[in-house]
């Protein structure tokens, strides 16, 4: 029995060593981003000897990028993109998910098949026509253009439908006996019960809106209408060998989302797990 105990202890230690090594590998790019951003260009490109920690923690790179790029505006544009995409996705998917999951009506299954079909198609196939629509509307370089492809969501509709299907029948019955019509039942009884699916969809939508690069690059080319990701892509061409400044800008772009993530990490991970796993 004692050998079993030691065996278990050894295996726990081995597991911890593996996990610590993996965690360090995962952190290195972030740490290197931070360390480089506080160096001077000479220090960052010194190889003989190679410098890991900056001798003096300089903030020149941060002042330079903050002077050259309007981060306040980039944060604002990115926030509006995320906010409206989340709002639209959660609203439309909550309604449609309820209808697909709980109501019986003619045409339902056909419409739901269309929803499923769109989830399997590569998104790039929508981009040219969506761009032409925005362009014809004269809406290039607007927040509306950024939000446009995400106003409705096939994936979210599916996710919320799964959420509604998991709810028991008796609540709905009781509400109906109490004289609630379908709209009231949905609004007061059923929708509040799928809050966790809504949160999952909201987080999923927010993360992917934040990470979107191609669409913002295509529709918003004006300097004042960029978002964080497209602004980083644009700056890379202009700051070729200024590594500390590139890293400082990347850091400034990533920090808000990372802070939100660390605070709400449980919701983030559960949100991704439920939304990803239910597909």
């Amino acid at each position: 029995m004692a050998s079993m105990e030691t065996k278990r202890k050894i295996s726990t230690i081995v597991i911890h060593i593996v996990l610590v090594l993996i965690s360090i590998t995962m952190m290195v790019p972030f740490l290197w981003m931070i360390l480089t951003s506080f160096k001077s260009v000479t220090e960052a490109t010194a190889i003989n000897p190679f410098v890991i920690f900056p001798k003096v923690w300089r903030t020149e790179a941060f002042t330079a990028v903050l002077n050259n790029m309007n981060f306040l505006m980039l944060y604002k544009n990115t926030f509006l993109l995320i906010f409206f995409r989340v709002l639209c996705a959660v609203l439309t998917a909550t309604m449609a998910g309820y209808a697909f999951g709980r109501l019986h009506f003619k045409g339902r299954d056909f419409c739901f098949a269309l929803v499923l079909f769109q989830m399997m198609v590569p998104v790039q196939i929508f981009i040219i026509p969506q761009y032409l629509m925005i362009s014809k509307m004269g809406m290039l370089n607007t927040i509306f253009a950024l939000v446009f492809p995400g106003m409705v969501t096939a994936f979210g509709t599916f996710l919320l439908r799964q959420g509604y299907m998991g709810l028991p029948n008796d609540l709905e019955e009781a509400a109906r006996l109490d004289g609630c019509n379908i709209g009231q039942t949905f609004l007061y009884i059923m929708a509040p019960l799928t809050r966790s699916s809504m949160v999952a969809l909201g987080i999923f939508t927010a993360v992917f809106a934040f990470k979107d690069l191609m669409w913002p690059m295509i529709v918003n080319t004006d300097k004042d209408m960029l978002v964080l990701s497209s602004a980083l892509a644009k700056m890379q061409g202009q700051y070729v060998a200024k590594f500390p400044e590139l890293m400082a800008a990347s850091l400034i772009a990533c920090v808000p989302m990372i802070i939100i993530y660390v605070i709400f990490q449980k919701q983030f991970i559960e949100g991704i797990a439920t939304s990803g796993g239910k597909l």
Binding site: M95, H104, I125, L213, S250
Partner: protein
């Protein structure tokens, strides 16, 4: 009595019909305008050529397809995309699976590990690509200087696409792991206890219990990873400059789509490339659907 009930039934039916359509209307209208019609428009567009100065559409029949199939650049991009997927998909799944199994127990620091491994998911790919490009820098990069080597990670045409796949694995590992972790929680603990009594522990129980019981989740992750790895764009666009000698050997199908449709402004040619991607995606998905019967267990 019977009549009354029937009447109530039909009025219920009618109201379900009305409310149902009211609720799905915004979503369906949006999906039809934003996604469904565009699928056909893109296919239609692939038979046209954009005129000079981006003006007008000229019908060219199957010309774009003939050009795409005769274009070495497109074939090379197809190969690059597949090379990327062949590295990214298996490694990101295998490593994530092992990590999920290691983390699927009560242990100290569990949520810290989970938080750190998932962290790349919330970073902007543009920033991720920039820092990896800096790590991979052949003269001043951390990797070469730490190990005293001089590998041209991202400018050697032979290895650049694999270096990008490494970034891809690093970025997606946490996501796959979280999906596996939630799948693992559904496996009853008794199975492992029964196996332990029969003498199966560690590696054995991983292959005989965990993998088969988790196979629906593994299959789901596999299908979605294949689909999205075929759409790789951000990392290549950010890591490989237009002057990089490895560009030809790294650009993916979606990269070419972006280049032709939005830089060279030839929407028709871009549309043709994306139709090719659609066909490729469907073929690979169908193969996986057929293949799953051999190894996925649903109970």
């Amino acid at each position: 009595m019977d009549k009354k009930r029937k009447l109530a039934g039909t009025s219920r039916e009618r109201s379900e019909f009305l409310w149902g359509w009211l609720f799905i209307l915004p979503t369906m209208a949006g999906l039809i305008i934003l996604n469904l019609i565009p699928i056909f428009q893109t296919i239609y567009q692939s038979f046209f050529k954009t005129g000079d100065f981006g003006r007008g559409n000229i019908f060219v029949g199957l010309d774009n397809y003939v050009k795409v199939f005769g274009n070495k650049e497109v074939w090379q991009a197809l190969i690059n995309t597949l090379k990327y997927a062949i590295v990214e998909v298996p490694f990101s799944i295998a490593i994530a699976l092992v990590l999920a199994v290691l983390l699927n127990r009560k242990m100290r620091g569990r949520s810290v590990y989970r938080t750190i491994i998932f962290l790349p998911m919330v970073a902007a790919p543009a920033a991720v690509a920039m820092v990896w490009r800096w790590l991979f820098n052949s003269d001043f990069g951390l990797i070469n200087n730490l190990f005293h080597i001089h590998v041209k990670w991202i400018s050697d045409p032979k290895i650049a696409v694999f270096s990008i796949a490494v970034i891809g694995v690093w970025s997606i590992l946490g996501y796959n792991m979280v999906l596996f972790l939630s799948g693992l929680q559904e496996i009853p603990h008794d199975y492992y206890e029964a196996a332990e009594i029969d003498g199966a522990t560690g590696v054995k129980s991983f292959f005989y219990i965990t993998v088969p019981l988790l196979s629906p989740t593994i299959f789901f992750v596999l299908v979605t990873r294949v689909i999205s790895s075929l759409q790789v764009f951000d990392l290549i666009y950010m890591v490989i400059d237009k002057t990089n000698p490895a560009l030809e050997k790294t650009q993916s199908l979606v990269y070419l789509f972006y280049k032709y449709a939005f830089i060279n402004k030839n929407m028709g040619y871009g549309a043709t490339i994306v139709v090719l991607l659609l066909v490729l995606t469907m073929i690979l998905t169908v193969f996986q659907m057929i293949g799953q019967k051999k190894w996925v267990f649903y109970n």
